[in-house]
């Protein structure tokens, strides 16, 4: 039973790993912390998995737990440095497939997201993932209207960071 649950979990998680990586990158500033947070998210998902009964989509459920872990229950390592270091996230990509421009733009976007507050990071992440406001409101626990207002505010903030 446990074995099949584990297999099922690994299958579900594996196909949604991207979610965890994006959250880790938004909430940490180096690869060590990234891995540390990724590990904690994995553990929390696995611990909660027996109670997941498929009422919500796996991805919605996963966003909720992963964001709760990143925002609330994960203890950041003391590192002082808040802003992401480009080189930390930019390894292992072979030269020939390296799309420099796109990669730089993604880095710039993450650098900007890194400067937002914990809650705002979550909201803009969900917005960029094209989640409908109803789903954002379910994940965050605020009303759809409030979510929309907040996201609009954060978009302005992000614009100012990207084009000062």
């Amino acid at each position: 039973m446990t074995k099949s649950l584990e297999q099922q979990f690994l299958k579900d998680f594996d196909s949604n790993q991207n979610i965890a990586h994006k959250i880790c990158r938004a909430y940490t500033s180096d690869s060590d912390s990234h891995n540390d947070l990724f590990q904690e998210i994995t553990i929390q998902l696995w611990k909660a998995y027996p109670k997941f009964r498929g009422e919500a989509k796996f991805s919605t459920w996963m966003y909720r737990i992963a964001l709760n872990t990143a925002i609330t229950i994960y203890r950041k390592k003391k590192r002082g440095l808040q802003v992401s270091k480009l080189e930390d996230h930019n390894i292992k990509i072979p030269e020939d497939t390296y799309d420099r421009e796109i990669d730089e733009q993604i880095d710039r976007l993450y650098l900007a997201i890194n400067q937002l507050s914990d809650i705002n990071k979550a909201l803009i992440l969900l917005y960029l993932e094209e989640k409908p406001y109803k789903e954002i409101s379910q994940i965050m626990g605020i009303s759809s209207v409030n979510a929309r207002v907040k996201v609009n505010r954060i978009k302005e903030q992000l614009k100012n960071i990207l084009n000062p």
Binding site: Q17, R64, I71, T72, I119, L128
Partner: protein, 206 residues
């Protein structure tokens, strides 16, 4: 903003993906979550006053109570402390049980803050009770010269009227310092765990 979404979509995360066998290894790792720390620190805060009491010299304390004439008062105070402590532990447990990772972000933060508030109120209750007991002590000791003489081990040559005020001020300052240090210790542990959480709490509520 549409452009940002386009950029976002082009993220290639395939190089970061962890193989299933390695994911499996992660499942057996220990969690480093703050929820565990909240439980541990809260239990320590509940237990510490009682542990300190266990290690005090009860005969001397009883003698002091008898000398000052507050045996009955202290008996009821101790009884109250245990009853109130049990009520707080019950509420703490009820709240702690409701902390669940699959709640929404706002709900989870709210639950943790509420759980810690129970501990906060328990600490404040203790500080107020402690100050009140000290106050009774002071009133009893300083209102009777004989009690004061034996309490401070003063011999007959000492003129009580001369030392009354400096002794009173020193005692009050000493007690204020103890209560302040206990409060400070609590603020540090509370802030250590909750600073970031409270910021997020404000952020999501406004």
């Amino acid at each position: 903003m549409g452009k940002l979404k386009d950029i976002w979509k082009q993220q290639d995360l395939s190089d970061q993906n962890i193989r299933r066998e390695d994911l499996k290894k992660l499942l057996s790792k220990k969690s480093k979550s703050i929820a565990k720390w909240i439980l541990i620190i809260s239990i320590v805060e509940f237990v510490i006053p009682h542990v300190i009491y266990l290690f005090t010299d009860k005969t001397t304390i009883q003698e002091q109570y008898n000398l000052i004439g507050i045996q009955n008062f202290m008996y009821f105070t101790n009884l109250t402390t245990y009853v109130v402590g049990a009520v707080f532990v019950y509420y703490f447990y009820q709240n702690y049980k409701k902390i669940k990772i699959e709640q929404s972000v706002a709900q989870l933060i709210d639950r943790i803050v509420k759980t810690r508030k129970v501990v906060k109120n328990y600490i404040y209750y203790n500080l107020i009770a402690l100050s009140f007991i000290y106050l009774v002590y002071i009133v009893k000791v300083f209102s009777n010269y004989d009690i004061m003489r034996s309490y401070f081990n003063l011999d007959a040559t000492v003129n009580i009227e001369e030392i009354w005020l400096p002794y009173l001020v020193t005692s009050i300052l000493f007690i204020a310092l103890i209560v302040f240090l206990l409060w400070l210790f609590y603020r540090v542990t509370y802030g250590y765990l909750l600073r970031r959480l409270l910021e997020n709490y404000k952020d999501i509520k406004n």
